[in-house]
Structure formats: structure tokens, C-alpha cells
Symmetry: C2
Subunit: 371 residues, 2 copies
């Protein structure tokens, strides 16, 4: 018993109509009498016929698939909770519309371009998501040249010829800084991502602005690469300063966790002597000791919104205005008032034991699309 060697021709023959009639009936288009349509559909069901995507694809010049090219090393990919959630979210929309997702993972920028070129040349996809936007990013131009509809994921420079869907990360960072300021911190450092990325710069700027709006001088800022190793290194460098910060705002959870461990390893108590905030709310973050204060964004919803936007772009229709939920600032146990250098004999800070109740503050939201 085979699956589907049945073709539209078979259905047409059995139903005693033309192929065109079958096609019309299936796609629910006018031009076929109601009873004829019924009969055709019945036959199709009996024969277990599903239209062939390949034939259809050739005929309509559409791949019915979209692409996601990720330029990351296996390690940074595996450590980032973003992609799994994003893909989950976009999949719900895509599969509902009969679209599939082609995933490509490459290691460097050159092969990333090559990847897009091939995707376009082969006609494998009808559009792509673009993540990790860089400050001077060549990909939008490339994709424009390739005539491949593109949705940029995350903050993107305004005014470009692209469509972007993103939750603005700035309010999350601002909330973190304000929280720390309210706790009494005056020397607040930042460990950013690589400055070539737009979202790195965006978060760094948010940190700087929030600090000066609080009437403080910006603390030290170190650019790292989002990896645990670099987060640890940056933290060491900050703690080695003549005037080490009393709080550090990290651009992602992975660096924050590694930084927290580094501090603890040096005998610096967290949060008593050093407060720490992350970004992402990784699945692990709530279960650390101390649990990590961080910023959570609804990445699944983001993926959904991006997929809707991309499909609209492909269909050349105006995409709906999508309201993305605001990022949440999640206060846990890794932040506290500064300057409690005492109690060095407190093993494991039992006071901050269970994650217990989390307090949340919400921030605002951004959704920018091509005008």
C-alpha cells in the first residue's frame, strides 16, 4: 500500500472531469458547479489524493518555504535559547499556511552570503528571516539584489529598505538600570555583545542613557562576544579595576551566569557585594544560586509575528499591525543593595534559597515595519 502515487489526472479521470476542474474544485474557486465540486472532492478523498507540492511549486513559481540562515558556531547556537523559541513560534504560523522552514547553519559571513545565494538561485525559499543584524550589514543589499523578501528580526537601523519585526530590548535594559539605581548602586558596569551587532549597540546605548538620566556617570563598559568564556573574562577585568563596579548589566544570560560564577569564584558575594542582571531569561536562570535577575521577552510570539510579516511580504499584501507583548523585567535574587561586604561566612546565601516569588516590572514595546 503506497502513499500517493495518485495524481490530479487520476482524480479527473475517475470523476469524469478535466484536470482544471479538479484544480478549481480543490482551491475552492468559482467556475465549477456546486455538485460537480462535491463529486470531485469526494473522489479526491476516496483516492486519498493530496496535490503534489512539487508540481504545484513548479507551476506557481513558489517554493512554499522560507529560510533561516544562522551564522553561529555550534556552541553559541546551542547556548542561545533564542532560536529554539523563535523557530517554534514561526512554525506555528508557517505550517498553518502550508509553508515549511529551511534551516541553514553556517560558520562565517562569507558562507552565509553563499548560503543565501544558493537558496535564491535554487528557488528553495520564497523569503527569509534575517537575524543578528550588523551595523554595516551587507545582507539586506544582497537579499534585495536577489529579490528575496526579507524580514529583519530584532532592532534594525531605521530607514533601510527592509521590514523589521522586533521587541525593543532597550526598555528591558533601562528597567534593569533603574532597578539597580533604586537599590542604591552608583557604579554600574555593562558587558555588551560585539559592537558589530545592532542589538549589542542598542542595549549598550540603553544602558548609557538610563545611567545618565539617573544623573550618574557611566560605569565601565566591556564588549564581549556573548559566550560564557568572554563573559567570565570581562567580569574578571571589571573586578580588577581600581574601583570595581557594584553592579553589572550583561547583554545576555549566558555571560551573566558565567560572570556570576567568576565573581563567586573570586570570593565576591553575589548579590551582597556585586549585583548582576542578565538578558533572555534562559531556562536555567531561575534555578541558579542566586537566581538571576533578568529581562524576559516573548520570543515565541516574536517568531509568530515575524512569520506573519514575512508571509504578508511574500504575498505582497499589507501585513497586519502586530502588537508584541512588552519585555518583562524579572527580579530575582542576583540583585540587592550595594555595599554589604560583610558576612563572608555565609555559605550559599541561604537567605536567597528558593526562587520564591518573582517580582516583575514590565517595559514598553516596539514594532517597526517597512513603511
Amino acid at each position: 500500500m503506497v502513499t500517493t502515487p495518485t495524481t490530479i489526472t487520476d482524480v479527473a479521470r475517475v470523476a469524469g472531469v478535466s484536470k482544471a476542474a479538479v484544480s478549481f474544485a480543490l482551491n475552492g474557486r468559482p467556475g465549477v458547479a456546486a455538485d460537480t465540486r462535491e463529486r470531485i472532492l469526494a473522489v479526491a478523498r476516496d483516492l486519498g489524493w493530496t496535490p503534489s507540492l512539487r508540481g504545484r511549486s513548479l507551476s506557481v513559481s513558489r517554493a512554499l518555504a522560507v529560510g533561516l540562515v544562522i551564522a553561529r558556531t555550534p556552541e553559541t547556537l546551542g547556548a542561545d535559547p533564542f532560536f529554539g523559541a523563535f523557530i517554534s513560534g514561526s512554525e506555528t504560523v508557517l505550517s498553518e499556511r502550508g509553508y515549511a522552514l529551511m534551516l541553514q547553519v553556517v560558520s562565517d559571513e562569507a558562507s552565509e552570503h553563499e548560503s543565501y545565494r544558493r537558496l535564491a538561485a535554487n528557488g528553495r525559499v520564497d523569503g527569509v528571516f534575517l537575524t543578528d543584524m550588523r551595523v554595516d550589514d551587507l545582507r539586506p543589499q544582497l537579499l534585495a539584489d536577489l529579490a528575496l523578501p526579507t524580514v529583519v528580526i530584532g532592532p534594525a537601523p531605521a530607514g533601510g529598505p527592509w521590514s523589521a519585526v522586533g521587541i525593543d530590548d532597550q526598555p528591558g535594559i533601562v528597567a534593569a538600570v533603574e532597578h539597580l539605581v533604586a537599590l542604591g548602586h552608583r557604579n554600574i558596569a555593562h558587558v555588551s555583545g560585539p559592537t558589530e551587532f545592532v542589538h549589542s549597540v542598542s542595549r549598550r546605548d540603553a544602558w548609557a542613557v538610563a545611567i545618565s538620566e539617573a544623573g550618574l556617570l557611566p560605569g565601565p563598559c566591556i564588549a564581549a562576544d556573548f559566550s560564557a568564556q568572554d563573559g567570565a573574562n570581562a567580569t574578571s577585568a571589571l573586578l580588577d579595576l581600581a574601583e570595581p563596579p557594584t553592579a553589572i548589566v550583561y547583554a545576555n544570560d549566558l555571560m551573566a551566569i558565567a560572570g556570576m560564577s567568576t565573581a563567586i569564584g573570586r570570593g565576591v558575594e553575589v548579590p551582597a557585594q556585586l549585583s548582576i542582571t542578565g538578558f533572555d531569561d534562559a531556562p536555567l536562570s531561575a534555578h541558579l544560586q542566586p537566581a538571576l535577575t533578568t529581562v524576559r521577552t516573548d520570543v515565541v510570539g516574536w517568531g509568530r509575528a515575524a512569520a506573519i510579516q514575512l508571509l504578508a511580504l511574500i504575498d505582497q499584501v499589507a501585513g497586519p499591525e502586530i502588537d508584541l507583548p512588552a519585555p518583562e523585567f524579572v527580579i530575582r535574587a542576583s540583585t540587592a543593595p550595594p555595599g554589604h561586604p560583610g558576612d563572608p561566612g555565609d555559605p550559599g546565601h541561604p537567605g536567597h534559597g528558593a526562587p520564591s516569588k518573582e517580582r516583575r516590572g514590565s517595559a514598553s514595546i516596539l514594532h517597526r515595519k517597512k513603511s
Copy 2:
């Protein structure tokens, strides 16, 4: 300037040959003179022509793509370093052969089956990877019915009608137990994954066997769900026992890390009072305080091997024997001799500061394929 409205007909016309000649030349097949071939290829290059996958796909009845359906929640997906690495690895092989990877993420088993059905009915893929094999898994039968070549990733029950590629995780667990026994532990617990998964059972059995081979009685064993939350819960339960274990072997790093934090939060020193081992070597694990002793497998190489195997299956040729590197047991700072309940005043265990030099022991390897 448009990208590729060029078709094989254009190339044939410009080169002054037939479409067949172009096809033959492109696919490097005999039946066309060397100089003609050169000329054709030159024209193709000039015109920037790449054969359309859609036409080709329809003609050869092949999708030139393989599928990976992942049944995970966004959280467990994002926390697992496996998939990113696996996809990276398989991609290197697939893209080289002109294949692409279709990724589907679903939430439950029912929609997973649905996903496979659609993939097959649409002819979107020529074969699939099957991960997270369950003890009584219905998917192999389904895929056999769908006539979809399948490669099972990871340990699979022997004797089934499937082809499996996996690094045996047992030697890694055995190495962990032997390490703990050598350190002097006598009460070694295990936190496993859900017992419905073959790899959970495999790791649990390895733990049990290694313990009895050391002449010890098996310690307590709790099945969790691989999540941080469940790892924390299981750890609490173990520490609440009348005779709490002095060491815990976890089935993955995420649970181990959460468990470690839980212990520390309860005032239990790691590794002085409790030794902990993980599985995966997540990017973060080396940068924790204390750094996690764990088992590392070459997932990227595994992905490569699986892709080679799947393509061979699709092409109906015998796959090459692939030697997968043995899993490595990585000894870091979360394991130590038992019974040092003293020194409760040691903040942050500075003695275990930097990850420093890691000692590694290697274990053996498994690669089973369909006979």
C-alpha cells in the same frame, strides 16, 4: 537586473545546443563532447544560470531535502545544546550534496505524527532524522508505512527495521560512576530523564550496572524530565532522604546545574559534601562555580555521520562505516572525595576558582547501522 529568470532553454539556445546537452554537461555525464561541454558550462556561467530545483525536483521525483521534526517545548529546546550542534554537523554534509534541511518544531506526539505525514504526502523531504527515540515508539512504523528513509539518532533498541547512528552514552556514564567510586563514594544517586526515552533508560542502566560492578548497592534513582525545574526538584528529594547520597549522576547538564544550585542553596557544599556529574558539556558548564564534571560527546561529528548515513539510505547504497569519536569524560571541580562536611565558612570555595586544567578520560564508542 534580475537574478535568475534564465532557464535551461536560454542556455541551450545561446550555446547553440539542445536542452539535453546542457543537462548532460551540467551533471557531468557522458554523451557530450569535451569541448561542447566546456562551451555549455561557459555560457551557463556567463548567464549566471543555476538549474531550478523546482523543475529538477519534479522531474526526478526527489525533494533534495531531508527533514528533522523535533517534539519539544520551546524551553527544553532552547536549553538543550544538542540540536544546534547536531544541525551544524549534518548541514556541512547536506549542503555539500545539494540537500537542505527542513525543520519542524511541534509540541506533542500527535502533531509530530501529523508533521511526518504532511512531509511525506507533500513530498517535501526524501528522508528524515528521528531523535528522542522512545521505548515503544510508533514513529518508526509510521515512517516505514510512509516509505520515508529514516535514520534514528542515538541509542535505539536493537533489531528494529531502522538505521541508527549514535554515540553510545553508556561508557560516559560508566566513567562517571567509576570516577566517583575511585574518589571513595559509596552512595551514588542518579537523576534520569523520562523513562519513556531510550537514552534515558540507557544512561540509567549504565549507572546501575557500573555501580553493581563496583560491588556497591545502587543508590536512589529519580526520573525527571531533563528540565532545570525537575532537576532541582529531584535534587531536593534526594537530599531529603534519611541517607542522602554523597554523589549524584545526572542525565544531562541542565539538571545537574540546577541540582548543584539547589544543593548550594540548601547550604550543602559542592563538591565537599556532594559531588555532581552532568552529561552534554553545555557551553556554560566549564564556567560555573564549581565547574561541572561532565561527559562530552562530539555532537557535530555525530550530525555529520547521521547525514552521511541518511543520504546513503536515500540513494539506496551501502553507507560507509563511520567511526564516531568516543565520548570524553571531563573532570572538573564539581566532584571530590566524599565526607568533608567541615569548612562551612568557606565562601565560594575559592580553591576551585578557575576551570584550570581539565583531566579527561575517554570512553568507548558505538555505531550501529541497519544490517
